[in-house]
């Protein structure tokens, strides 16, 4: 309180309340005291309530058997496994929806954003109508709609035979497609794929250096595509097609074998992607519009063709404006994926935050863990996007 006494001694007889520094200290002490009192009140009540209901706190429930089935899981799971396992199944499903959603939403959003600026009147009106319709309807409604749509497909008995080859089926049980089963010798293909990627990176570096020195352009995109796709294909042919397919077969009321995507997953993923794409499209549009028109004119004046102007001049500058709002769209999509609970797709909130909570009654532990995971995911996405943003930011003096 040395500051406070100095204040009073100077002006002689001024109350502590008139001294900004003393007042700041008093206010903060009051805030901390009331916060502590409030927390004590809550903790005390909670302890009393838990004791009365006979609920023991702690994380022991995580090692108890869950006893319920989960329809979709990336890792092996059955009903005899623990609630801790349910947590991981749910978390991985959340990440799966978020990653696939972000990829599709970004691609669609960029396409729509560019179309929205097209000089073609019909195209930009179409993009406008799509954006305004989709982003003004609650995403939960869209999820329920697409879920109902996929559930409304024909029953398994009359499943739609896509391509008529008896390999891919669409029904109210979802999409069934063949699943590749590698045979001996297939290991060469992924190796060739990695080699292709490394070779493309080396090639891109070399081409860039050469262009900076001599001004000659090398078609990196096409040759990179050839390397990444062509090399594995070559390896595949040389080793004599070492791959067989696990084809879905109709058995009773469902399909057996192959690879299945449930209507819940498809509905959730499609709705989230379509919804977020509309917002991304608006970010892309405003980003591109933020680049001065003089940049385009200057590029044309230098004789750079339109497609290169977009890729080399406009987009790199627009990205600086686009990336920050894009980050919050990715965060929104990840958080919205928790709406899986409405259609029963077993994500973190639905499998762990709801089913486990209802079975064990450990509300505080379950909800805290769920919230902590989302906070962690949000933080991870922010850190990554901030790193990317710094990388593409304008380098100034």
């Amino acid at each position: 309180m040395a500051v406070a006494t100095a204040g009073t001694s100077q002006s002689g007889g001024t109350s502590l309340w008139r001294d900004p520094k003393a007042r700041a200290i008093i206010v903060q002490v009051v805030v901390v005291a009331s916060l502590v009192a409030f927390l004590w009140f809550i903790i005390h009540n909670t302890a009393v309530n838990l004791e009365k209901r006979g609920i023991a706190t702690g994380f022991e429930f995580l090692s108890q058997p869950a006893g319920f089935d989960i329809a979709t899981s990336i890792i092996a799971y059955d009903a005899t496994m623990t609630h801790g396992r349910v947590f991981w199944v749910g978390l991985l499903n959340t990440i799966l929806v978020a990653v696939l959603g972000v990829v599709f939403a970004t691609v669609l959003g960029f396409i729509l954003g560019v179309l929205r600026l097209s000089p073609n009147w019909l195209i930009n009106r179409l993009a406008y109508v799509y954006i305004e319709v989709v982003r003004n309807i609650p995403v939960l409604l869209q999820i329920l709609f697409w879920w109902a749509f996929f559930l409304g497909l024909p029953r398994v008995k009359d499943a739609i035979n896509v391509f008529g080859q008896d390999i891919i089926f669409l029904s109210n049980r979802g999409l069934q497609s063949p699943w590749p089963v590698p045979e001996p010798g297939f290991g060469l293909v992924p190796i060739a794929f990695v080699v292709g990627i490394v070779a493309t990176i080396v090639l891109a570096r070399w081409a860039r250096k050469r262009q900076e020195q001599t001004g000659q352009h090398f078609p990196v995109v096409w040759s990179g595509f050839g390397l990444i796709v062509g090399l594995p294909l070559l390896a595949f042919i040389v080793t004599g097609f070492p791959l067989s397919w696990d084809i879905p077969v109709q058995k009773g009321f469902n399909f057996k074998g192959g690879f299945a995507v449930t209507p819940e997953f498809t509905g959730l993923w499609l709705a989230l992607s379509l919804y977020t794409a509309a917002f991304i499209a608006e970010n892309v549009r405003s980003g591109i519009q933020a680049v001065s028109h003089g940049q385009t004119e200057a590029a044309y004046a230098l004789g750079i063709k339109p497609s290169w102007t977009m890729r080399l001049i406009i987009l790199p500058q627009a990205l600086r404006v686009i990336v920050p709002p894009l980050t919050s769209q990715y965060l929104n999509l990840t958080k919205n994926s928790s709406l899986a609970i409405a259609v029963g797709f077993p994500d973190l909130v639905s499998a762990f935050g709801n089913t486990t909570l209802n079975q064990t009654g450990q509300a505080i532990e379950v909800i805290s863990m769920t919230m902590a995971v989302y906070l962690g995911l949000s933080l991870a996405i922010s850190v990554f996007m901030n790193w990317y943003n710094k990388k593409i930011a304008l380098v100034e003096r």
């Binding site: 009540n45 909670t46 329920l144 928790s338 409405a342 909570l357």
Partner: protein, 372 residues
């Protein structure tokens, strides 16, 4: 220059008559050439999208209007090929008012009309008696509470009978009305010089913004009863409202912080030089300017809140979407999910789209600088 007879006509310098522009570059033909068929790729795109429109629009119109049926009292009454709007017609009152007693509908409608009046005073500047109007708008939540819940001579209506569009609007308005003051406090706290206050506000805002609304709603509906002393119990709607208010106040705080940051430092310094206290400086000088700039942002937050209010169906409340979802599981109306969702979607769309138009109009009005 060649005239109609093929003879070359000569004009003195500066005496050339005004010629009409080439016929192919003006009027409808010129517009089509310029906007639809300016190049080969453009022409292809135009034809593809025209085909797409011709494929989708007539089918959609036929389903929704021409082959649709409105009368009938169950699914089996609908014998047509298009939409069966009978569900929406039969359940319309429920979609609007939930399970509110039919004899008391007038109270909801009156509250709605009074709401429009209050909104008009808040949103538009040039109305007569503005000061009284704003005072009335501030008192509106109390009036609406007594109108909807009952008391003062009106019959009591339990909140579990509230539902449909009415409940959606109640959640939206309560959320925005509660989140504005909390958001202002949080935003001021985040920009405060006092480290403890600042850290607490930042922690709260970032925590809420980092988790999905559904987990906040779960917390409000499952954990809140544990936090309260014995005997105190909040009903389901109030718990949901607390969750929604906490959630939206964090977002509101960030919008308002943007406005506070946009006010030049000179304004703060001038206020301090005049000897104004902190609250007078904020209340009389800074906040009126800051809030005015961020009205579009507040409207956008409100649109988000309005759409997010549908999430209360997950914790068992029957807002518009919740009651529509319940209606399509009715055995008499099974299989009509498209019609029901189309109706709910159109209702939400009308609200959200008109709010976003207002926000854009306001942005243009406030944006008095140079535009390109």
């Amino acid at each position: 220059m060649v005239d109609s007879t093929g003879n070359e006509t000569k004009h003195a310098p500066g005496q050339h008559p005004d010629m009409p522009p080439p016929r192919l570059s003006v009027g409808a033909v010129g517009w089509v050439r310029q906007n639809l068929f300016s190049s080969i790729p453009n022409s292809v795109l135009t034809l593809v999208s025209a085909a797409l429109i011709l494929y989708i629009v007539p089918g959609l119109l036929d389903w929704a209007i021409f082959s649709a049926q409105v009368d009938g009292n169950s699914r089996t009454d609908c014998t047509n090929t298009g939409a069966c709007w009978a569900l929406v017609r039969v359940r319309f009152n429920q979609f609007m008012f939930g399970f509110y007693p039919a004899s008391e509908y007038w109270r909801v409608i009156l509250a709605g009309i009074l709401l429009l009046l209050a909104l008009a005073y808040i949103l538009f500047e040039h109305l007569p008696y503005r000061t009284w109007g704003l005072l009335y708008a501030a008192l509106y939540p109390i009036i609406a509470f007594f109108l909807l819940a009952g008391g003062l001579g009106l019959e009591f209506v339990e909140t579990d009978r509230w539902g449909g569009l009415m409940l959606t609007i109640v959640i939206g308005i309560t959320g925005i009305a509660a989140s504005l003051p909390i958001g202002i406090i949080l935003a001021l706290g985040r920009r405060s010089q006092m480290p403890i206050v600042r850290v607490l506000c930042v922690a709260f805002i970032e925590f809420i913004r980092g988790v999905p609304l559904i987990t906040v709603l779960f917390m409000a509906s499952v954990m809140l009863p544990l936090f309260l002393p014995e005997g105190v119990n909040f009903n389901k709607l109030l718990r949901a409202l607390i969750g929604v208010a906490l959630f939206s106040s964090a977002y509101m705080a960030e919008v308002i912080r943007g406005g506070l940051q946009a006010i030049p430092k000179g304004q703060y310094e001038a206020a301090q030089a005049l000897g104004l206290s902190y609250w007078k400086m904020m209340g009389l000088i800074v906040l009126p300017q800051a809030l005015k700039i961020v009205i579009p942002g507040i409207v956008n937050t409100f649109i988000g809140l309005f759409k997010d209010s549908t999430l209360v169906l997950i914790i068992g409340l029957f807002d518009l979407l919740g009651i529509v979802k319940a209606a399509i599981t009715d055995a008499n109306w099974i299989g009509l999910s498209h019609e029901a969702y189309a109706f709910a979607g159109a209702t939400f769309w009308i609200f959200c789209f008109s709010m976003s138009r207002y926000s854009i109009w306001l942005e243009n009005k406030l944006h008095t600088g140079h535009k390109r």
